[in-house]
């Protein structure tokens, strides 16, 4: 019985083995076969993500990273924070209870590259923004174990002493525009001044930030130092905007329901 059911497969298998015996004498046949066989899956899974509209939700209130926040994001990448912190709350009850509404695709729409992460040695950071004060972040980054004694996070005290390099920000924003982030010419041209202005509320440059990025943009001394703009300013500004680019996640998910 079993033999009967399997016999067509056996014949197919036999045929395949014979055909293979002939084709494996040709290196180019193998090359093409490998490219085709390996090409299918990636194409079927990736290409539609660019064409199906529902893949990324619409969020009219979605805002862009300011130059200072983008500089902070680049520091986050440089230091490899993503190796231990995810930025992707999954659609599981305990994650929503622990971290907040689950992450939507639109929230990382302008994240080149995304920082969803793959490992939580530390907690998820997708909704970290405004959860702690700037002062807490600075103390925590300077000496994590002074704030959380059990922490195994590395200390990043040097960020507080390192002046933020802002001259390259117009180039960086232009590159981001080239890959699809809708920065305006004005935003790109003023990126350098805006980055410094956002961390120095008492200067003229600060006004331009609210003008170009909206009144809701936080303009303050993120690292507590009044006289200079440091890498700490940028990183804290970035950490404080995490989860705050759009309210879409809160709007779509009525909290308090199971």
């Amino acid at each position: 019985m079993l033999r009967k059911i399997l016999s067509p497969f056996a014949r197919l298998f036999e045929f395949h083995a014979r055909t293979h015996y002939r084709t494996e004498r040709h290196s180019m046949a193998l090359t093409l076969g490998i490219i085709v066989a390996a090409g299918v899956g990636g194409f079927v899974e990736i290409a539609p993500l660019f064409t199906i509209d529902e893949t990324v939700e619409a969020a009219p209130d979605m805002r862009l990273y300011t130059p200072l926040e983008q500089a902070g994001r680049d520091i986050y990448i440089r230091e490899g924070c993503y190796a231990c912190h995810s930025q992707m709350i999954r659609t599981l009850q305990d994650e929503v209870d622990r971290y907040g509404p689950y992450s939507l695709a639109v929230e990382s729409q302008y994240d080149h590259p995304m920082l969803w992460g793959s490992k939580r040695t530390g907690p998820d950071l997708a909704r970290l923004g405004n959860k702690y004060s700037d002062d807490w972040h600075v103390r925590h980054l300077v000496d994590p174990r002074a704030v959380v004694p059990e922490s195994v996070m590395p200390q990043y005290a040097f960020l507080l002493d390192t002046t933020l390099e802002t001259e390259s920000l117009p180039d960086r924003l232009a590159a981001l525009r080239a890959v699809g982030v809708p920065y305006s010419d004005e935003q790109i041209a003023n990126a350098d001044a805006d980055a410094r202005g956002q961390a120095r509320p008492d200067t003229d440059a600060a006004d331009g930030v609210s003008e170009r990025y909206g009144d809701a943009t936080s303009v303050r001394h993120f690292d507590g130092q009044r006289d200079r703009v440091t890498e700490m300013d940028a990183l804290v500004a970035y950490l404080q905007i995490l989860g705050g680019l759009t309210d879409a996640a809160f709007a779509n998910q009525p909290l308090g329901e199971d």
């Binding site: 015996y21 190796a83 080149h112 590259p113 059990e150």
Partner: protein, 550 residues
């Protein structure tokens, strides 16, 4: 290194070195205020050293003998030695990062020594440095023997090997100074990526040209895997690294993709780096060195066909299982899960094929630690592919994802399968290449085997425990319906396992150091012996015609 090159080949080598030096100089000058400049200086120094090396040999006498009568093993030898060097560096870094998680003060105070910066040095060091060099070196060896032909070229094998190592050095040094794209296992920036594409194209051409020279009608199965490794890694590398540099005088670039599309592309790359770098290439090793060492033919030709095409076709789909329950559309998650489960069939077909090949040679497995390395590698391959399919199931993944279980799974594959098959292959090929009787010390091989096995087992058990405990703690509720544990509580619970993991890794590292010492002593001190019939001959000359299956 240079004595087997003709005058014309030496001139080509010199030209390449000079061009590289100019490229390095331009990079150093253009990027003088950026990490790019440091990398330019590294390229310049590397090219200068090679230029001196070639210049010294340029007037030396040319090879007199007919080169087609022998195999070209110099690049293989160099590749194996470099692979062992990277093994010690990469695994040493691994032990350090593991120790930092148990004792965070071991981070010290430098900017470069934080977990986030040295972790990719560990991953790239072992995957690309150790694994990549071992793959390139063994592929040179295997394609020549199975094709019964000498390598098609004398400069290009060196270009591929040394060019690849330049990529590895730029990658590793870049992480330490903060140059990274943040894409896991694809961290190097745009200029390093472009360089790797050039190296890889040369590698592919070299492979195809050597196959074209073969004195054997059939292309042996090991070569299918090496070929799949070269081709698919090229596709993955190019697509996932598409990016726009912020400036041509700076290292920083931004990925062409964002958010959900970037996540899918990254894990399509990431999972298939596992498939085609850490599996296909090493299966090539397995299919050659295991039957060779056991002196048994591969158990089933048809199983090899089934598993090869199964792996090439199914694996590509599996990447989205890294993104269960995320903002990735559900249909892609489901496809990823389905294909991951189906992937078990070709994976176990390979593992089973390898183990069945040992039938009739089990006494050799008992007595010969080298063959035992390969046998245990096949077992770990079977175990970790089963675990991988299991973890790709959504319900399991909801527990295992983001925890150390994933780390343990990766290391069961990386240490138990990839590293063990590599060490087994190195031990079987080193005496042949250096024309020695045996390895310098079989006792050290035996020690290495038990150190590696116990290190792997300790590591994997520690990570299973910590991963499952942490996953369960995260989702535990109190009776009143609130979460029972803070994140910090779960972190405290991890400490003993992090200590155990660092110890397991240290055992494994000790084994690798013994291997490096043993290989060094074999090259320097083992008695000589010339292997029989290790030169290119056509199959008709060597043995009666193979009966066709048709």
């Amino acid at each position: 290194m240079m004595e087997r090159l003709t005058g014309a080949e030496r001139q080509i080598a010199l030209m390449i070195c000079v061009v590289m030096a100019i490229v390095g100089l331009v990079m150093a000058a253009a990027g003088h205020s950026d990490p790019l400049g440091i990398h330019g200086a590294i390229v310049l120094v590397a090219a200068a050293i090679m230029t001196c090396f070639v210049l010294r040999a340029i007037g030396e006498p040319e090879p007199a003998e007919d080169r087609t009568n022998s195999y070209y093993d110099d690049p293989t030898k160099a590749g194996l030695v470099i692979a062992l060097f990277w093994a010690v560096v990469g695994m040493g870094m691994g032990v350090w990062v593991a120790a930092q998680l148990a004792w965070p003060d071991l981070r010290f105070d430098a900017a470069w020594s934080s977990f986030g910066r040295i972790r990719p040095v560990h991953t790239s060091g072992v995957i690309f440095g150790f694994g990549g060099n071992a793959l390139i070196a063994t592929s040179y060896h295997v394609m020549q023997r199975t094709s019964r032909a000498r390598l098609a070229g004398h400069v290009s094998p060196w270009f591929v090997l040394l060019g690849f190592n330049l990529f590895c050095i730029i990658a590793a040094s870049g992480y330490l100074i903060g140059v990274t794209q943040s894409k896991e296992y694809a961290e190097p920036e745009w200029y390093a990526d472009i360089w790797l594409v050039i190296v890889w194209v040369v590698y592919f051409v070299l492979y195809i040209r050597t196959l074209a020279r073969r004195n054997e009608p059939h292309i042996y199965v090991a070569n299918w895997y090496y070929l799949a490794f070269i081709l698919v890694v090229a596709i993955l590398h190019i697509v996932n690294n598409l990016a726009v540099p912020a400036s041509l005088t700076g290292a920083k670039s931004y990925s062409a993709f964002a958010g959900v599309q970037d996540a899918m592309t990254q894990w399509w790359y990431g999972h298939n780096a596992v498939a085609f770098f850490l599996t296909a290439g090493f299966l090539g090793m397995l299919y050659y060195f295991l039957p060779k060492r056991a002196e048994r033919p591969i158990y089933s030709y048809r199983l090899s066909i089934l598993s090869f095409w199964g792996i090439v076709f199914f694996y590509i789909w599996a990447g989205s299982h890294h993104l269960h329950y995320t903002a990735l559309p559900q249909w892609v998650q489901t496809l990823g899960m389905t294909f991951s489960v189906m992937l078990l069939v070709p994976s176990w077909a390979s593992a089973g094929n390898a183990l069945m090949t040992l039938n009739g040679a089990w006494h050799k497995v008992r007595d010969d630690a080298t063959l035992r390395f390969m046998m245990v590698a096949a077992v770990f391959y079977g175990l970790s592919t089963f675990e991988g399919s299991f973890m790709a199931v959504r319900a399991v993944n909801s527990l295992s994802h983001y925890t150390d279980w994933t780390v343990g799974h990766v290391h069961a594959g990386a240490m138990g399968w990839v590293a063990l098959i590599t060490f087994g292959s190195i031990y079987s090929v080193v005496p042949l290449l250096w024309k020695r009787e045996t390895m310098y010390s079989w006792k050290l091989v035996e020690w290495h085997f038990w150190l590696a096995l116990s290190g792997t087992v300790i590591y994997v058990f520690a990570m299973w425990n910590s991963g499952i405990i942490q996953g369960l703690m995260w989702r535990t509720y109190t009776e009143s319906g609130t979460l029972a544990y803070s994140f910090t509580d779960t972190l405290v619970a991890m400490h003993p396992y992090y200590v155990a993991r660092a110890c397991g890794g240290a055992l494994f590292l000790t084994g690798a150091i013994l291997a490096a010492y043993n290989v060094y002593m074999t090259i320097r001190h083992a008695p000589e012996k010339h292997p029989e019939r290790d030169y290119p001959t056509s199959s008709e000359a060597a043995e009666p015609a193979v009966p066709a299956a048709e």
